[in-house]
């Protein structure tokens, strides 16, 4: 799954208005009548991150899972090594997952 941020070409810190603008530009360049698949991709991306609620949900339930998959693949398919990654190494790798980073955006300084 390609990140909705990448589909719309916005940063993870983008504000609602910027995301909306990117969505509208995407729609303008890919009208549903011309290429409905591409349009649907843009629409889904927008629906996933259009406001803070959606972005939080996305960060919690989508991004980590995808990264876990990548991590697991990396852990079990180490080139050259004679088997799965050592537990310590795996934990080290796990700590690089962006969950905290993703969530950090939503915890407002008080």
């Amino acid at each position: 799954m390609i990140s909705p941020y990448r589909i719309l070409g916005v940063s993870e810190q983008a504000a609602d208005a910027d995301i909306k603008q990117a969505y509208l530009q995407g729609v303008k360049d890919n009208p549903p009548d011309r290429d409905s698949v591409r349009f649907r991709q843009i629409q889904d991306a927008y629906d996933a991150i259009k406001d803070e609620d959606c972005r939080l949900r996305h960060a919690l339930f989508r991004v980590p899972r995808v990264e876990f998959d990548a991590l697991l693949a990396q852990a079990f398919n180490q080139q050259g090594a004679g088997g799965p990654m050592a537990a310590d190494d795996f934990l080290k790798l796990l700590s690089t997952v962006a969950i905290e980073k993703s969530l950090a955006k939503f915890t407002k300084p008080t």
Binding site: L24, Q25, K28, P31, P32, D33, R40, D47
Partner: protein, 579 residues
């Protein structure tokens, strides 16, 4: 060069055709008139009349003239013109053919493609019927777009500032309301709601009822059985309605309306605007309720709306403007003629589909929720028809959603999938729009997973498929109202029949020549009669069987002249039985 694609507003009362040339939208005029009344009739010689001439004839020969056919689209019914039965699709096709001819005369070349508008709140079967009408008229319907959306496209084109618009579209037979966001060259529908059987015709009917009550009180006469008098009253009611848009009082006057026991009856009554507004108050309230539902669907309130766009002739009613002013606090827009702006939007969308850059892109939603039913719970109790919504209302089109279900019984070899449109948690309170059987499932314990995919295309037409996960066995259908749906053979014969009315001969496709309109109508009547057999009395049935036999003999011997009388009699019986 691409084929020309025309934009058509196929309205309940009026229809228009428009085209984009060199980036400019033109509503094409025929003999100076841009509006074609949606009336169809047959004249003394059996020639087809469409538009103004048919509307004029309606007063004298209501029995061979049809108006407001759009209200019947998607229903399994027929209308009778001069003793012959036609489906709503066929009558609509006659109007479309006329519009096609007007456009062809204007551009000087054949046209085979069109974008046709439909009310946003048109159901799946009403959309299917519209597409079929196009096919019968010899038009490939490249896209159906929603009428309020088409209007928003006209108002939104070329605007760069962000605006939230409310499109209030009250036509002859349908009401739609859409909340639209226009920004950066994208016209984005946020929510739609409406009523597919509410419009100016209903207002006319209320005035007609008032007139009939008046005549009953004053003269003790029932006018309903007198077709011509009813046609005149209907026309007088419509004129009074139009008059009341500008005047506080309207006089309804019809001399020699009919003769009663040797004395002529002259109708004269006055209708005050305030009385008229009381008559239609419930309808107007219903439109305001729908407006609030649409706003809620868009997660907005009245104060978020920057502009109101009025579409449809019925929005000329002053109290509608007043009510909207009360709700929103500013005057609605009406710069673009409310009768023409839908056709213009259709033409713009046609140009865009044809690859022209019109500077604006359309994003639309479905006003309906679609789903299926499953064994579940209702109000906390087990219930076999719990509604499971799959595509939610106000989803952006096109949309595709999949839901997984499990078989309920061990060794369950088939599943009956029923598709509904609506919001009620009890599926049976929603409109069932289709069903199909998935057979030959694996012989396994309960819990066999079946996935159901609903795919709603840009035209608002639903495609459904079910798949048994374990075997990959799939069954797919395009939802269509099994009753009103034409198969391709029927479509073809309808096309030949309508072509025949226009004096065109079908293309040389070999085999036996096309059937004459009379013969086709006769077969239609027979089919119709046979469908009624189960419900009629023995006596009626006997009459019908006799007539069918006579008609069949005539058909076999190609005795066209002999057909007329028995077909007419059979149609009379059918008409009597159905009303």
């Amino acid at each position: 060069m691409n084929d020309i694609i025309i934009g058509i507003d196929l309205g309940t009362t009026n229809s228009e055709v428009a085209i984009v040339e060199n980036g400019k939208v033109t509503v094409i005029a025929d003999a100076g008139k841009k509006i074609l009344p949606s009336f169809v009739g047959l004249d003394d010689n059996g020639s087809i009349l469409v538009g103004e001439t048919a509307r004029n004839q309606y007063l004298i020969y209501p029995e061979r003239t049809v108006k407001s056919i759009k209200r019947l689209m998607g229903q399994d019914t027929q209308v009778t013109i001069a003793g012959q039965a036609y489906t709503p699709q066929e009558v609509s096709a006659i109007i479309l053919k006329r519009l096609k001819a007007i456009a062809e005369a204007y551009v000087g070349q054949p046209i085979v493609k069109a974008v046709i508008t439909v009310p946003a709140y048109f159901s799946d079967s009403q959309r299917q019927a519209t597409r079929e009408a196009g096919e019968i008229a010899g038009l490939e319907v490249v896209r159906m777009i929603n009428e309020p959306t088409a209007a928003a496209l006209v108002y939104g084109a070329g605007r760069l500032d962000a605006k939230r618009m409310l499109v209030y579209d009250l036509g002859g037979g349908t009401f739609d309301v859409s909340v639209v966001n226009v920004q950066s060259g994208v016209v984005e529908v946020l929510a739609s709601h409406g009523d597919n059987h509410l419009g100016g015709d209903d207002f006319d009917q209320l005035i007609v009822d008032r007139i009939l009550a008046h005549i009953r009180e004053q003269f003790g006469i029932e006018v309903e059985p007198h077709g011509k008098a009813m046609a005149r009253i209907t026309r007088a009611a419509e004129q009074a309605k139009l008059c009341l848009s500008d005047e506080p009082y309207a006089t309804i006057e019809e001399e020699y309306l009919l003769e009663h026991q040797g004395t002529p009856l002259h109708l004269k009554m006055e209708l005050a605007r305030s009385d008229y507004e009381d008559l239609i108050a419930d309808h107007i309230n219903a439109t305001m309720d729908a407006t609030h539902i649409a706003l809620k669907g868009a997660k907005l309130t009245a104060s978020d709306i920057d502009e109101i766009i009025l579409v449809g002739g019925s929005t000329r009613t002053p109290c509608i403007r007043e009510r909207l002013f009360e709700e929103f606090g500013f005057e609605p827009h009406g710069e673009v003629d409310p009768d023409l702006c839908v056709a213009m939007g259709a033409a713009m969308q046609a140009a865009m589909i044809n690859g022209e850059d019109i500077g604006t892109v359309l994003v639309d939603v479905t006003p309906y929720t679609f789903g299926t039913c499953a064994v579940g719970y209702l109000d906390g109790l087990p219930y076999p028809y719990q509604y499971v919504p799959i595509v939610h209302k106000n989803s952006v089109l096109p949309v595709r959603k999949t839901e997984a279900f499990e078989t309920f019984h061990d060794n369950q070899r088939e599943v009956n999938v029923r598709i509904f449109q609506g919001e009620d948690p009890d599926a049976l309170n929603n409109v069932e729009i289709g069903e199909f059987l998935v057979e030959g499932l694996l012989d396994v314990p309960a819990g066999n997973i079946i996935t159901l995919t609903l795919d709603l295309d840009l035209n608002g037409i639903l495609h459904v498929s079910a798949r048994e996960k374990a075997s990959g066995k799939e069954k797919a259908i395009t939802i269509n109202n099994a009753i009103s749906r034409f198969d391709s053979g029927e479509l073809n014969s309808a096309k030949q029949r309508i072509d025949g009315l226009f004096g065109e001969t079908a293309g040389g496709e070999g085999g036996s020549g096309p059937e004459s309109p009379a013969a086709a109508a006769a077969r239609n009547a027979i089919k119709k009669a046979e469908a009624l057999f189960e419900t009629v009395s023995a006596e009626d049935k006997e009459d019908m069987v006799d007539l069918i036999e006579t008609i069949s003999n005539c058909l076999e011997n190609s005795d066209e002249a002999g057909l007329r009388e028995p077909v007419e009699r059979l149609n009379d019986i059918i008409y009597y039985l159905e009303s």
